[in-house]
């Protein structure tokens, strides 16, 4: 057994003491050490130095300049008819009213002339009537003015619609840009390949320049999510492994900062020729 017979009477006491010693140690560990580590505040700025910027800007304006006009023309053509339609609809009414009034005036005039003939004394009234007629004519011209104002607001609305259309066109152009700017993607792809190429031990690959294909899952930081997957082997295991090591060593890979453009790199299928 663990203890002798003659030790039994002290064993319980000893066990209590032993436990007390260990609790003391635990308390000392907890109290005397400040286990909370405060991380130092670091202001680290990461800088990447590139000697050539990827040519992302120049190709962008071209599609932008070309694309917006078509929607503008498209939208402009259907809209003017509205304008044209709007005017004829309203003007006839006005004309009719005017003519009605004119007719009424003329009738009045005729009647007045009859009245003149009949009673010259009523000249004053006639003058007053004429003034009225003038006033009415003035009012009519006011109406015309209002109508032109209405036309203007219509035009404004149309213009707003146009600008909206333009903005939409811009957006579609931006999305088209990422797709269209295959040049940028190629640029980055070349940059990635160049970086990997610098890390490949070419002596492991044969001189025949084999082609390898890797499937790489990338994070926006340029680091890899997981290991690169070999899609197409060069036929030489040492070469495959050399390229894989090179890809691992090349982290972080240069990827576009732009989220839209990066989407193309999330699952990058990289074709690689070590001896190019």
């Amino acid at each position: 057994m663990m203890i002798r017979a003659y030790e039994k009477d002290v064993s319980w006491q000893a066990a209590v003491w032993a436990l007390a010693v260990h609790l003391l140690l635990l308390a000392a560990l907890l109290l005397s050490f400040n286990w909370k580590a405060t991380p130092p505040l670091l202001n680290v700025a990461e800088v990447e130095l590139w000697d050539v910027l990827p040519q992302s800007e120049p190709p962008v304006p071209a599609p932008l300049a070309e694309e917006p006009p078509p929607p503008a023309v498209k939208e402009a053509t259907p809209l003017p008819p509205e304008k044209v339609e709007a005017e004829p609809v309203k003007t006839p009414e006005v004309d009719i009213a005017l003519e009605k009034k004119r007719q009424a005036l003329e009738q009045k005039k005729v009647a007045e002339q009859i009245k003149k003939d009949l009673a010259l004394a009523q000249k004053k009234q006639l003058a007053a009537l004429q003034a009225e007629a003038r006033k009415e004519e003035m009012q009519n011209s006011d109406k015309l003015l209002k109508q032109s104002k209405a036309n203007e607001t219509l035009k404004k609305l149309q213009q707003e619609a146009l600008t909206e259309e333009k903005a939409m066109a811009d957006q579609s152009a931006a999305s088209a840009k990422s797709a269209a700017s295959a040049g940028v993607l190629d640029e980055y792809r070349a940059r990635i390949q160049a970086k990997i190429r610098g890390n490949v031990n070419k002596t492991l690959c044969a001189t025949a320049n084999p082609e390898l294909k890797f499937d790489i899952a990338l994070l926006p930081t340029g680091e890899m999510a997981g290991l690169p997957r070999l899609l197409k082997s060069s036929g030489n295991k040492a070469c495959d492994e050399a390229v894989e090591r090179a890809i691992m060593a090349s982290q972080p890979l240069p990827v576009p900062m732009d989220g839209l453009a990066f989407a193309q790199f999330r699952n990058l299928k990289l074709t690689f020729r070590p001896n190019d």
Partner: protein, 226 residues
């Protein structure tokens, strides 16, 4: 994960975050430490008791009373006699037994009493030496067990570094800290065990010398009597 561990390190999270071999090492070391402290306290009590009883017995023996009375008072006690008293009891019992068979030579009677005392002495020494080998083993081995846990933990901590592009100290620091806990507990178990072993070994040596000298002196007294 590493960052959160680095920010919130307590002894519990360190142990919980350690790998399985390190945790096993810690468990073994804590059990070892508990047992060694238990034995330390047992031995402290029993050796002290042996020393005081030897003191008391020597006082009673050299007080010059009747040996038969002393023997009777010892064997009348309910408890089994220990230490010097048991040696005396064994020797005197044997001597009296041989004396009753009167046809024996004096030298044979003395030899018999000596052998009986030697046997009782060996039993006593065996009791005194109990658990000392365990303490010696703990003292010499538990630092190595702790070191094993530490090395294992540091190996794991550095293996974790191979998967990151930029190696920083904060990525290995928690692993090393939790690994070093193993060494700390190993040392905590070893240091008291070594100190206790040395102290108890010397105490047992002194007691055994005392027992032996008592045996010699008692043999002389018996020879004078016969």
């Amino acid at each position: 994960m590493t960052a959160s561990v680095a920010n919130d390190m307590s002894i519990f999270s360190l142990v919980a975050g350690a790998s399985l071999p390190v945790q096993l090492v810690l468990l073994v070391l804590i059990l070892t430490s508990l047992f060694s402290w238990w034995y330390i306290f047992i031995k402290l009590a029993t050796i002290k008791r042996a020393e005081t009883s030897a003191e008391e017995f020597e006082n009673a023996f050299w007080a010059g009373g009747d040996l038969n009375k002393l023997f009777d008072s010892l064997s009348a006690g309910r408890r089994k006699t220990q230490g010097m008293a048991s040696i005396f009891e064994a020797g005197f019992k044997e001597y009296v037994r041989h004396k009753q068979q009167s046809r024996m030579e004096v030298s044979d009677v003395m030899e018999g009493a000596r052998r009986a005392m030697r046997a009782a002495y060996n039993r006593e020494l065996d009791n005194l030496d109990a658990h000392l080998p365990f303490l010696a083993s703990v003292g010499s081995v538990s630092p190595y067990i702790g070191l094993f846990g530490t090395v294992w933990g540091i190996m794991n901590a550095f293996r974790g570094l191979s998967n990151v592009a930029q190696a920083t100290l904060s990525q290995v620091a928690p692993g090393i800290a939790e690994a070093l806990v193993a060494t700390a507990i190993g040392l905590f178990a070893a240091i008291p065990a070594v100190i206790a072993y040395n102290r108890f070994a010397s105490s047992v040596d002194r007691l055994s010398v005392r027992y032996e000298s008592f045996m010699e002196e008692f043999t002389n007294i018996l020879q004078r009597k016969s």
